[in-house]
Symmetry: C2
Subunit: 206 residues, 2 copies
């Protein structure tokens, strides 16, 4: 019962925080959305910061669970990366009002644990991504000398870049194009062949 | 003479804003650093916002000029991309205290032209990058079907990702690894050959 009420308040808070900036939200708005008294909220959360932080932490766990599920499918590495990118960018799009608040220095001052929580979250996302790539290496689909750290940075950074340039309202991002670029590269066969030919010429010299 | 004084104030302001958050800086600090009276600052700038915005705009122009110079060298596309990445990340590192301020909704409210200036700046950087890649296509070093928009997003996003994960104090980022990944890709030859072989088998079928 207690867990149900807590969850109901969090669900209502999510709707409220999704559409407004952190400082624009009053606990009265959350109470109204959850159809409880403001006093009830204080039974479960010590402050607006505490409520918001619980909301974001729950969101992290949910996102990680969804991405771990993507990683556990039997699909090829390219398909897994696309699915990973689509889940991640959908969540970023839904929560774009909440992200600046949790990353702001003001929030970090009020909740010193926020930055550490965000960093462990990023580390866990990188870990899931690295797991997909390592599996790709074992399956022979990803080069064994590929730098997995650089790959995850370029992939997650590239998704953010696509989202920023597309605008928040774009429904679907060209995630497949990014995955193809990272897996297949943009170097022309001509350039690769040219280098090989040069190497061959060098070897041919007496 | 007037331009000299303005430049001297901007140079002093840069030192002050580099080490402190926007709201921590007082015009008195800038006046002290520039060895002028606070009244003198108001001869050139209407407010702290105006001074900061001029500083950032000048910084944009300087960065764009440096990157255009990189694009104009006769080097191969990979080397140009590395140089581009190194210049960009060095500036981001030097100015990491100033970036959150110019991007904040608070500053956008006080200076509605800030967001538009930032967007045109990003567009111009993307344009310089696209120019390097298009030259690479003409030179036969970049695949002619490469999606240049996706490439620029992955490259700039990847640089941000590397900087974030490395921490602000890292002196040099592994930019070459990112450029290599984007140009050469991470797909193993085995996977590529496997696909070719499969295609061959399909063609061989009666």
């Amino acid at each position: 019962m207690k867990a149900d009420k807590r969850r109901a308040i969090l669900r209502a808070a999510e709707r409220v925080f999704r559409d407004r900036r952190f400082h624009e939200v009053l606990l009265d708005d959350v109470a109204a959305a959850a159809r409880v008294g403001k006093g009830t909220i204080y039974l479960y959360f010590s402050s607006k910061e505490d409520l918001f932080f619980s909301l974001v932490s729950d969101g992290f766990l949910e996102l990680e669970a969804r991405l771990a599920k993507v990683a556990a499918t039997g699909k090829p590495v390219g398909d897994k990366l696309c699915a990973f990118g689509e889940v991640l960018t959908a969540v970023l799009r839904e929560r774009h009002m909440m992200i600046p608040a949790i990353m702001s220095p003001e929030f970090a001052r009020r909740r010193p644990d926020a930055r550490a929580a965000l960093q462990s979250h990023h580390r866990r996302l990188d870990g899931i991504l690295a797991g997909i790539l390592e599996e790709g290496v074992r399956a022979g689909a990803v080069r064994s000398d590929a730098d997995i750290h650089t790959f995850t940075c370029a992939f997650v950074g590239g998704l953010h870049g696509l989202a920023r340039r597309r605008g928040r309202d774009a429904l679907r991002l060209p995630v497949r194009g990014l995955v193809d670029l990272l897996l297949k590269g943009a170097q022309s066969c001509r350039a690769a062949t040219g280098r090989k030919r040069k190497k061959q010429q060098l070897q041919d010299q007496p």
